[in-house]
Symmetry: C2
Subunit: 126 residues, 2 copies
DNA sequence: ACCCAAGTTGACGTTAACGTAAAGGTAATG
DNA sequence: CATTACCTTTACGTTAACGTCAACTTGGGT
């Protein structure tokens, strides 16, 4: 199984970000690639995490929020009490996202209306 | 018609933000309330604009983006050429929003999955 | 052996979006 | 008439998320 790996500039090119950005995410504890010598080596799991970080960014989340959210994706952390807290944390984030979903839909509708008004104000080609 | 007006602290209280924030938005050209003496007086139109700004903020937009978007809501700007550019601007923003909509839905699904895994890992009460 | 592209670690700079005093004006209330 | 409660402007401080050098090492290709 040829486990594909990536250099830092591979990922930077793929996602159209700088290497500085990727290192910054690592500095903030969002990524922790393996090393060969001093060079960072990213596997597909790292790449996925990066994608999730960027998705969070597009949605306006801070890096800290994204880190928390990504932390919710694997229930590796055994303890029952921890799992309870995790579950409620997940539910809260989901609620927030539902609100955001509502906001976006409203905004899209507003823009559709604006577009229509705009079209009506324009001369028709007939 | 008792045109309702608001003081700056009225709006700050209603939307749970500081007066500083509201003044800052004005500084950035997002609001322009009337004045009585030196005091700012907001009408319902100003209040609506503020609501739109905050919605934009919840969606991760910069103030500049929000200002542009809000500017799309009224086709007051007569010229045909301007209207054409406005229309395409609106369409672009809408496309961006559709992408964001997609991102949000994906994230909600991820969180639902995570919630399920979490529940399965928890002991049932039977 | 030499070069170059790509990697590394600091460290300081920058921008957006406010926070946080400081210093003062004004209007109503006790 | 003095205090309290809001309002104002001006100005410096702060945090997140990188940008931007600088100075250095390192693995391949010719």
């Amino acid at each position: 199984m040829a486990n594909t790996t990536y250099s830092i500039s591979d990922l930077a090119a793929e996602f159209d970000i700088t290497t500085r950005t990727i290192r910054f995410y690592e500095e903030k504890g969002l990524l922790s690639p393996k090393r060969i010598g001093t060079s960072r080596i990213y596997d597909s799991a790292n790449r996925t995490r990066l994608k999730l970080i960027l998705r969070g960014k597009r949605l306006g989340f801070t890096l800290e929020e994204s880190r928390d959210i990504i932390g919710m994706y694997d229930p590796t952390h055994g303890n029952v009490d921890q799992l309870q807290k995790l579950a409620t944390g997940i539910q809260q984030k989901r609620q927030q996202l539902e609100l955001q979903l509502h906001d976006i839909k409203a905004m899209i509708k507003d823009l559709r209306d604006a577009e229509n008004k705009c079209m009506q104000a324009l001369p028709t080609t007939d």
